[in-house]
Amino acid sequence: MQRMDSAIRLRGFVKRFGGITAVDGLDLDVPFGSCVGLLGPNGAGKSTTMKALTAQVVADQGEIEVLGYQLPGDSKQARAMMGVVPQLDNLDVSLTVEQNLLVFTHLYRVPAGRRKAAIDRALDIANLTERAESKVDHLSGGMRRRLLVARGLLHEPRLILLDEPTVGLDPQVRQELWALIDRMRTEGISILMSTHYIEEAERLCDTVTIMSHGKAVAVGPPRELIDRHAGREAVEVYGPPARLHEVEVTARGRGWSTRRTGTSISILGGNGNVDIDGHRRVTNLEDVFVLLTGEEIT
């Protein structure tokens, strides 16, 4: 018997691949019933972290606890109570929607008498009841992603891992998926979601952990992180490159932060005191993300 406060608890998690350190001492908590976002640029260590939670990556150092079970030793118990929605579609394409779900009721050990109900419920949540008989081959990208979510919910898990749940989807389809994730959250399922769509994290997550080079560089509720790192207001200045450079130097001289936003420069952390002309807008998590993970694309 054991008490636990967090669905996921990582302490000092380190993973190296050859000479490369993919994750470098990560602490992470997913409190029960909350939705936590794992944000970071490509190569920050998000995928390695997600794989470690199903013990498909084994830590070189540190502790990993999922639903009260120590990994990797007791990973199977943890996996029996959590659902995973992978980034890469791994559905059986020659089977129907219903057959895909049937197979996973067996893999997730849903008792024989409850399989049918579990499938119907998952179809309903993912809004795929009408397509139960369709071959996966004939589904759209959005439907396939919803089916992956449904598959992860068959055994009524207490925790669900979503690895880049909306990558590559149209905006309309993304909204649909967000609604689905929000529904899981209101039902009390703990969620860990890795994403590099910042808007997604801002809308859905109670807290986010921003990762860079295998480490957590910021942890907290999105609004709090924004206030702390970017202030309430950003001033966006447009102009030719020389002008932008000049603004950059001036702003930094006054102790404000700046970030390039394509054709403009955003002055952050001014909190209403910026006297440079420009378009004023509300700061967002993307500002924080770029400030903390760097502007250079590596």
Binding site: M4, G33, T54, L107, T207
Partner: protein, 269 residues
Amino acid sequence: MATATATAVAPRRRLHRLEPAALQGVLMREIVNFSSFWRSSTFSSTVDPTIYLLAFGFGFGSLVSHVAGYRYIDFVGTGIVATTVLFSAAFTSMYSTFIKYSFQHTYDAILAAPVDTEELVTGEGLWVAARTGVYACVPLLVAMVFGLNASWGMLLVPFIGGLSGLGWANFGIFVAAKAQRIESFSYWQSGLLTPLFLVAGTFFPLSGLPEWAQVAGNFNPLFHCVELVRHAVFGFEGWVDVWHLAFLVVFALIMWRLAIRYMERKLIL
């Protein structure tokens, strides 16, 4: 955000290695998938050996009437069971394992469920072995059309085929786990499987070969499969058949553990 501290209790029920529930899940996935491609799979696993049987039976059979004390059609009809085993176990496993790992990412989905690599490999091996046991009967049925007499011992052939198939299925998983690219299968096929397939006493007896080849043949699992099937059909010969059976059991065990070892290296980083 949930502020209340949730108190949850993790049941201390240990999950063990090689649990029936996990194996059932893996087998179920294979069975449901098989329902969508059984026609093509059964076609290739049965037509290939039938062609060999007809080609050798008629081609060679017109030159020799008896080999090693058997009518040639009886000799080759029983021998080709081993060919079927090789085709339907080793080749199927090599390709399907590699495809599921590299292209379909199926194993990621299975290992995210409460299934370990050991259970995954064991389930897949058992499934291919079971199919192989059934397909192993096809050459006998064809040979019976051409005059092979039925015998009670034939009822053991699916089990001998299944046991050999278990070894070869795990061999296929092992090869797929070692392969970085699907092209490397060529080395295994041409360098190992083709010689083993030819020097197994299927089409001609090993006794006609140089002594070193006869000795080497004793380490060929297909040879032991051929001998055991022939003796099952025409009458067992005592201890020598225990040796054949023991060899197949040991081959299956070694390949099973090797397949698990190498799949773990591939799947668990």
